[in-house]
């Protein structure tokens, strides 16, 4: 079966100029954990997840640590998040986005989702425009 027959037909996407604050609002309301980013023509330009925002809010030294136990409390994260809240998401987005084509096979899609260990992947048409999103749960529902 083709990806466009099993994907979620959701075209919710943002442009790279929106703020981190707006992104959090949209992610929360749309019950998504990541969001495709499109250009002025609606072509897929990148991807950003809640994980990327958390990572951006963590102190700079965090990557050198192996445990959050070295961070005294949540205030540091909260303060950092407040500082970046009005920054455009283009600072934190991924431009090298992995995506599926709408006529890809379901097996191909499952393979990519498992190998890349991602929850969902954007789906584009032959013109490079976003036409939906394929989530792990869409695959499972399709297989059952």
């Amino acid at each position: 079966m083709k990806v466009n027959q099993i994907m979620t037909k959701d075209l919710t996407a943002v442009d790279e100029e929106i703020s981190v604050r707006e992104l959090i609002f949209i992610l929360k309301n749309s019950e998504l954990s990541n969001m495709p980013i499109v250009d002025a023509e609606g072509k897929l330009a990148g991807f950003i997840s809640d994980k990327d925002v958390i990572k951006a809010a963590l102190p700079g030294y965090f990557e050198m640590l192996h445990s959050t136990s070295f961070i005294p409390d949540m205030n540091q994260l909260s303060n950092k998040l407040a500082k970046i809240a009005d920054n455009p998401i283009k600072t934190y987005m991924h431009r090298d986005v992995i995506c599926l084509k709408e006529d890809d096979d379901d097996l191909q899609a499952a393979d990519l989702i498992i190998r890349r260990n991602v929850r969902s992947l954007p789906v584009i048409n032959s013109a490079g425009k976003l036409v939906g999103i394929l989530r792990r749960i869409d695959l499972l529902r399709h297989l059952l």
Binding site: K9, D10, L11, T12, D15, E22, N29, S30, K129
Partner: protein
């Protein structure tokens, strides 16, 4: 591609009751129990999207959505096979309630909420998305009431210079201010048609005169309801009476019938059918929708069979 815009979608809740107790009751009698209930995504454009999806037509529903109710609406649309492209806003998408009393289903009691306040920022986000999808649109359907916060020229802004065939199904100022954008097809809200141009459009002559004035503004076709089982279509090329040979007492649920009419017409025109054929199909879809409990009839075979009950007659050569 067909795009529908519903600025103020809703969750439609329909309750069926044996008898609606209103008036002087004792406290014991005050409760009215529904015998059945049904819940579905609603709003004019949303209903048209669902109709088209059930006919197998790919389409995208756009608009503003908010809160838990908004999540239910979007989920319902996706389950119907409609592609969703909504802007999330603060507040809660409205819930519209219809109560149908047994034996009096043709006079439904409706309670519609106003909808969430749309901020300037949300409106701008929507316009950016609209601009991105517009080049892909063959048909652009702008339908329903406007939520608080949107200017009454919202549809005018969306309809002008689109390159797509624009259909507007709305009422009040949202409709009247959009006419200068010269949309292809206009369907004034049946519930508000009497207020059109401040005239009481009760007679056939007045309907035609009002319709002609709209055509003079550059609109290609206007369809105005004339009674519950008849519509009048007016275009530059002529006037058509669309009539259903059916009694209104057979109606069970009028909610969504207007949307089935518009959806049916667009569906057949998009398939390449002739104008009269599309009118008959649309009216048949509307009548079947009104005759059934379900909001919108989606069985093409049944609609085609119902077309036997519909007549479309040309009234004169030129409007």
């Amino acid at each position: 591609m067909i795009i529908t815009v519903t600025p103020n979608p809703s969750l439609d809740k329909v309750y069926w009751v044996d008898r609606l107790k209103i008036g002087d009751q004792t406290q014991e009698e005050f409760l009215t129990r529904a015998t059945r209930s049904h819940m579905s995504a609603g709003g004019k454009g949303v209903n048209i999207s669902v109709f088209l999806a059930r006919m197998g037509v790919e389409n995208v529903a756009m608009g503003f959505i908010g809160g838990h109710v908004g999540q239910v609406v979007v989920r319902d649309l996706r389950n119907e096979g409609v592609s969703t492209n909504f802007v999330w806003v603060e507040g809660e998408t409205r819930t519209n309630v219809t109560i149908l009393e047994r034996g009096r289903e043709y006079v439904p009691i409706q309670l519609n909420e106003a909808g969430p306040q749309i901020s300037q920022g949300a409106s701008e986000r929507f316009l950016r998305r609209y601009g991105r999808i517009l080049p892909d649109a063959d048909w652009m359907v702008l339908a329903g009431s406007l939520p608080p916060g949107l200017d009454s020229d919202f549809y005018y802004k969306l309809a002008k210079e689109t390159g797509a065939k624009v259909v507007i199904s709305a009422g009040g100022e949202a409709l009247s201010r959009s006419l200068d954008a010269a949309p292809y097809l206009v369907k004034p809200d049946t519930r508000q048609r009497l207020a059109m141009e401040g005239a009481r459009l009760t007679s056939r002559e007045r309907i035609i005169a009002a319709g002609r004035r709209v055509i003079e503004q550059g609109v290609e076709v206007i369809i105005i309801s004339h009674g519950v089982t008849g519509d009048i279509a007016i275009s530059r090329d002529g006037i058509w009476d669309i009539k259903a040979r059916i009694s209104t007492t057979q109606f069970k649920n009028l909610v969504g019938a207007d949307d089935a009419l518009v959806g049916g017409i667009i569906y057949r025109l998009d398939e390449g059918a002739g104008f009269e054929e599309a009118l008959r199909f649309g009216m048949a879809a509307a009548i079947l929708s009104a005759e059934g409990d379900e909001k919108i009839c989606h069985q093409r075979e049944r609609i085609e069979a119902e077309m036997e009950q519909i007549s479309v007659e040309r009234y004169e050569e030129a409007a």
